[in-house]
Subunit: 308 residues, 3 copies
Amino acid sequence: MTLKGKDIVNIDDLSLQEIETILDSARRMVDIAKGRKGSNALEGKILASLFFEPSTRTRLSFETAMQRLGGGVITIAGQEGSSLIKGETLADTIRMADGYSDIIVMRHPREGAARMSATFSENPVINGGDGAGQHPTQTLLDLFTMREKFGRIDGLHVTLVGDLRYGRTTHSLSLALARMGASMSFVSPDIIRMPDHIVNDVKELGVEVNMTNDLKAEVPGSDVIYMTRIQKERFAEEEEYLKVAHSFRIEQGILENAKREMIIMHPLPRVDEIDPSVDFTSHARYFEQAFNGVPVRMALLKLVLEGE
Amino acid sequence: MTLKGKDIVNIDDLSLQEIETILDSARRMVDIAKGRKGSNALEGKILASLFFEPSTRTRLSFETAMQRLGGGVITIAGQEGSSLIKGETLADTIRMADGYSDIIVMRHPREGAARMSATFSENPVINGGDGAGQHPTQTLLDLFTMREKFGRIDGLHVTLVGDLRYGRTTHSLSLALARMGASMSFVSPDIIRMPDHIVNDVKELGVEVNMTNDLKAEVPGSDVIYMTRIQKERFAEEEEYLKVAHSFRIEQGILENAKREMIIMHPLPRVDEIDPSVDFTSHARYFEQAFNGVPVRMALLKLVLEGE
Amino acid sequence: MTLKGKDIVNIDDLSLQEIETILDSARRMVDIAKGRKGSNALEGKILASLFFEPSTRTRLSFETAMQRLGGGVITIAGQEGSSLIKGETLADTIRMADGYSDIIVMRHPREGAARMSATFSENPVINGGDGAGQHPTQTLLDLFTMREKFGRIDGLHVTLVGDLRYGRTTHSLSLALARMGASMSFVSPDIIRMPDHIVNDVKELGVEVNMTNDLKAEVPGSDVIYMTRIQKERFAEEEEYLKVAHSFRIEQGILENAKREMIIMHPLPRVDEIDPSVDFTSHARYFEQAFNGVPVRMALLKLVLEGE
């Protein structure tokens, strides 16, 4: 098995063994990711960092990852990214970037853009999020964060909270968790609940799922509470939004009955879903989770460019 | 002869021998440009990449070129570039960038901006396009693309198609081709035909030129067909534009009588001048041409910074 | 004494000995800053360059400084910077950048933003200017420029000219000069004169200060004339502004009675305060001053990241 030359478009493109390989490699990257150790593993290589819509965390963590391994970066971001979408075809932009680099990471507002780009690029393409589609490296860093804490995914109970309908990250994450043997609770207001096709896929993998809108009741049984942002734009009435935002929010009070080892995660940025006082509890793991984007992306860049 | 320390503002600033030196050096850069070989030739050097108007291809290929050789890059692009134009004088901006780098590449909307900048900068300035003025590295990569294919420029017949009046790249290219012994056809609608002063300069170099608006008739005799974009804004009437855009377009049908070795080039981005089905023919050379920007710019950076 | 791990928020955070250490180290950086010598002192380290408002000189000189020492850079600038301010809290943005880098330099429109960021970042934060607050690296490069010229600060007479009320750089500079034994003249229109609390602080350090609006009279006694921009927006009437702008302007005529060794400085960008003809006199030192941002920031990055 080798990941060398492989496009990373969808988390489902990766076998469980490939996911384990990436997570193992990421662990070995942590010291370099923290700047404690140097590396020239990717010296002379260039990452094309193409952000046709903004995603500061994804962009910066990829750019740090590449440079921590000695590689260089060329960037399209901001207005230049959105202008390019209007100008030439995506195929032509990708061919240009392909000629100027060894690997492409891209974020695009249109679902399917990454898959299409992979067909036009000779070098590997990593999907950094495409519209309502996939964001596989987010899933990998989420899995890494859980595995680093608990030493395993199998047997964990993960509670996903918030906008489970439009929140792209929770879809891929649930499927990956199911494949790896975690059980789940899906906690959300009814109008933004997890889509049926995801629920069905998870159940078909033989995993128990509990769908509810009572966050408090789920806290004691959770090993991981995975929060996501609820966007005001999803609601017709401001009043309706405020009611919902209030019920699906983590504050210190709600944590009284939590397991001592339980961790709270969030893909960030957050709006109001986690009270800042929670940041200083031992449960808060979202900043470390953000950092984990660096070693996971380092592992991926190295495996895709160089192999094992 | 040495290019060390030389400003590269206009293709005419370079002797034929200097052009040959750059193209020879570019060939030796190809393996590094493709990431197959590393180089630290410009380690510790800094390129200031100043884009006062957007040109993604030029910017990214210079930034890759510098990094493939081990150098660093500082960038002004997007809104920051256009704001600077309104703020301080160009002279002051250039002196700042000069103090922070070893070499400047700049794109500017005003003709003559690069020449003026060169007088204020102690370090060399490379013109990455200045308004209706020059874009010498585009010409160099165009020549490189032809020479890599045919082993020579002398004796080739090159057909330039499209907006030959406002299309800056075709002006410098025709003069360079004439100096190097290629004959040419200029194919365009009458209102955007090649300016008389260029035609006269080419003829004075003893080169035959055929001016026409019949693209189809030129195909069989061409070694190179060099397409350019026709901009809608040049025409008073939409209808007039559409008629023209249709006649100066390459589709597979028109290629039936082409020489087997004929190549199609385009500075990109394209709009509609080349049918995407042509991309998959052996004639299409425009993506390789775009890639060639990297080794040619690597060669130039190295020769100007370090000499032979 | 070590600067390792220290936040650099305010020039007053630095002891005189620490300032001397930085200036001594900056002198040793000059050859590397000019690209004559290489360095890998910060190889594998990453600078997060966070510009929530534009400051091209500060940003580019830090990015060059980091790369001249072999380090890498991730950048937030332009529209992305201002959007982030509206999106998540500064604390969350800083924690993200902290996880992706070894050191942060930041520019922010709000006074106090850098100090607050330093409390949320594990790694050191360097203030690149925060609203009406501090800009300590500007003060350091100003001091460096004077000391390189005269070999000392003690005993110099420095005349500060222009907008001394809102011009942030002159406040920290006067206090630092007073601590280091320079006497000063403050030359400005009355409505934008130096704030009383600064004048008092300077006097309490036992330093003589002359407050006036007669620039011409101050020229003969000055070792350094430090010009700053006067912004039209500070005046109710255009006419009032024009009168003022005219009186606080350096032209060749005014320099007739200057000491031969006197130098003119300006933090740049300038508008109209210094006639371009002055650029070619031996007094002009503002372009070298801008360049000095590189060795001074190199020294600071190295001392804060690595210690002596």
